[in-house]
Symmetry: C2
Subunit: 302 residues, 2 copies
């Protein structure tokens, strides 16, 4: 039996449109409704035929849903939830895909008192944005973290977990605060650092931008991919997960200072030791199927 | 006419063995000789039949070469050059593939007084090491930076440039100090940051290593690739290009502090502005063929 029969996706960018495609592929009998605040995006989704109905308001989108998945930037979750509150069926489950869970849980609880809320976060994405960039296999082999609320409905959490498993994801459950700490290091800090170094390179006066681009295959280009991610989404992440990000950033800065000092004083042994132990993590990530085993992310060399 | 007829490659790891394969593919009539300080590597290269002759000493390797390319860590260049000095033919050209050019140029000049030296740096590589990891197309579509010495032989520099172009590389000429500044930002700083953050994640006590690995697709895994690069090579790079790396690291740290402050004080506009302008650099890198146009580096999603 399908966990949900009528699914509404609110926000039809990379993640929302991938979710629509994935549901179509894995659960073709599900009745899919979509909504996006942008009329252009709604038009594109109609043209691509990604859902059965594109609604023109959040209320119209949720009116007969049994699952509503909010796929908007985390700072917009509360407002869009408030907009649909009056039309939300009493038995609907509300979930989301936001990258921060404590702040989203609080925003949804405030906007939808009494609703059944099961926040979730599929750890998947690319640097592209918009409904054309989505694809059905985005969640396959990736983890989806479900963060049930204290005192929430355990059956609803099980149905949401089932939903994600059918899309090809593995599901893990944790509490929202721990999620935010884990993602601060595995996702938020890497994005912050990537955005920073790409900006640093852009500002140099001794090295031209054309040189930065030409010789980026030396390592820099790896950072430009996630620094090309959606600016609104990421602004909201850093504002919403401030404390955990600042904590991880503090640790990173201390470690960087230590390596800086080793370089300044020519301490080759300290550098060698640090550079040796990081290899094992890469190996584990590849062994556990979380990255391509091929060299260079499997980039083409031809 | 081929730029060189008898090529010796000293150091048969990822880059040296890729060079051997590329020469075989592009200039099959070239007589190829190889040497590596490791007897195991020499054995592997014999078994893989990557060169015509594997020599057991640097001197024997260079004795009839007209081009010698040193493919060893930058800190080892001077010593290996000294080892082959007595046997180097007077008309041979000595080049290298090191990631730092001022220090290597000085080391080669000191070890090989009177020799014709043309330092070079193909900006290409993967996170893998050793002769099995090499492949013939590694340099195709990548830049090779040639850094002729002041007062050096311009004809030799032209021949080295021709050699790299035949392997599929584009060639740019610059002076060694400028090379070191450009690569500090496009290669050395990215590696230092990647090594740092992977180490930071490894040290956390609130987040388990298993969680770091499982949820690495949120961005972290991108950094683990270059943090899996060869530790000896990278120790030497940071010791050899200290001043330029410290200069770029200082700028990066200032920019990171600025973003840290914006997060702490909730300055969403500052974050949004920074995150918006970095997209253009990614676009230019892809447009100029320096990275895959496909989303997510072209990683497989199936």
């Amino acid at each position: 039996m399908l966990p949900f029969a009528r699914v509404t996706i609110v926000g039809l960018g990379l993640i929302g449109s991938s979710l629509a495609r994935a549901v179509r592929a894995a659960m073709p009998t599900v009745r899919l409704t979509g909504y996006d605040a942008s009329a252009d995006v709604r038009e594109t989704v109609r043209a691509l035929d990604l859902v059965d109905d594109v609604a023109d308001t959040p209320g119209a989108a949720v009116i007969d849903a049994d699952l509503v998945v909010l796929c908007v930037p985390v700072g917009a979750m509360g407002a869009v939830a408030a907009d649909m509150a009056a039309d939300l069926p009493a038995d609907a489950v509300v979930s989301d895909v936001g990258s921060c869970k404590a702040s989203v849980a609080a925003a949804l609880r405030a906007a939808l008192p009494g609703a059944t809320i099961v926040p979730a976060h599929p750890v998947a994405g690319t640097e592209k944005s918009g409904p054309e960039a989505g694809f059905a296999t985005l969640f396959r082999g990736r983890w989806c973290i479900v963060t049930p609320l204290e005192g929430g409905d355990p059956v609803a959490a099980t149905r949401v977990a089932d939903f994600w498993r059918r899309l090809g994801a593995d599901v893990e459950t944790m509490d929202p605060d721990h999620h935010d700490l884990v993602l601060a290091v595995t996702s938020h800090l890497p994005h912050l650092i990537a955005y920073t170094i790409v900006g640093t390179a852009d500002d140099l006066e001794q090295v031209t931008q054309s040189e930065v681009i030409k010789f980026s295959a030396g390592g820099f280009r790896d950072f430009t991919r996630i620094a090309a991610s959606d600016p609104t989404m990421w602004r909201d992440v850093f504002l919403s997960n401030r404390d955990a990000v600042l904590e991880m950033l503090g640790r990173f800065s201390e470690d960087l200072s230590q390596l800086q000092r080793a370089i300044r004083y020519g301490d080759g042994d300290a550098l060698f030791d640090r550079f040796t132990r990081t290899r094992a993590i890469r190996r584990s990530i590849v062994d556990q199927g979380q990255d391509d085993a091929a060299a260079d992310f499997g980039r083409r060399h031809d």
